[in-house]
């Protein structure tokens, strides 16, 4: 209960999206993977949108990791990501196991992987 939890944001979370209520893409998940879709970040973006693009410029991150590093709620980051995807500045890849969850082959591989970690 220490550390980052008490740090203050410069912009309140609800202002970071310009006050819009809902993401235009409701399919975004916490584990949607974000990839950069632009080599240079265009001027004129809001600081929060720029923050997302700067964060993922060096490599891919799940949406939830981006929210943690940016210290923004997941619900806010979903709105930012939806806008950036619409603008063609960001790729968002849904997690392979969709709403139904992973298939049996994947689960068997998870099991094998966990067993192999036992010392």
């Amino acid at each position: 209960m220490t550390g980052g939890r008490h740090s203050r944001r410069l912009v309140p979370a609800y202002l970071a999206t310009g006050g819009r209520a809902h993401p235009s893409r409701n399919h975004l998940d916490r584990l949607t993977t974000l990839h950069a879709a632009c080599e240079e970040i265009p001027v004129g973006l809001g600081p929060e949108q720029r923050g997302v693009l700067e964060l993922i410029q060096p490599g891919a991150l799940p949406l939830v990791d981006a929210a943690a590093y940016l210290r923004l709620p997941v619900s806010i980051v979903k709105v930012l990501v939806a806008d950036l995807v619409s603008a063609g500045l960001l790729h968002a890849r849904p997690p392979i196991p969709q709403a139904t969850g992973p298939d049996i082959e994947t689960m068997e591989k998870v099991l094998d992987g966990l067993r192999a970690l036992k010392s």
Partner: protein, 200 residues
Amino acid sequence: MDSARSSPDPRYLTGNDPVLIKLLIAGPFAVGKTTLIRAISEIAPLHTEEVMTQAGAFVDNLAEAEHKTTTTVAIDFGRLTLPNNLVLYLFGTPGQRRFRLLWEDIAQGALGALVMVDTRRLDESFEVMDLIEEAGLRYAVAVNAFPQAPTYDLDTLRDHLDLRPDTPLVLCDARSRDQSLDALIALVEHVIAHTHLEPA
């Protein structure tokens, strides 16, 4: 005391578009969720702060935030890379029903849930198990063996917790990586067994 400090250096995904698998580590406050995540995760646990209305709805617009008192819920998570281009994500999930929307958002597409139990507060785990069942997830139960907590044999605990006979129930010191891995293995075995029995 658990603390989840955000690392300043992002840990980017490696591999070729890895498959991300969600697991829930669910349980009441201070039951050891973050301790278990820390024991298993390859990164220092991160957290998000979810802002919600008192009614449990996500806050993402100005009008709502101005007119209602909001609650911030911290959700800790960790990551574990496995062979075969798989990455496990472990989400520490609070048990309260008033955060139900948040719950459903995290549970979406999850492989299953590990419910953590403190033998001094068994009743606090009932709400958690109800929420998991309503979300349609399979679960296993891990009793975090706190030194000062009373010990019961597993049959007595199973009885008190009113578990189905096939629901895995394991003892687990959440500080131990090996024991925590065993608890996850019991969970995944259980989910696989039932997926074989009940093909989609």
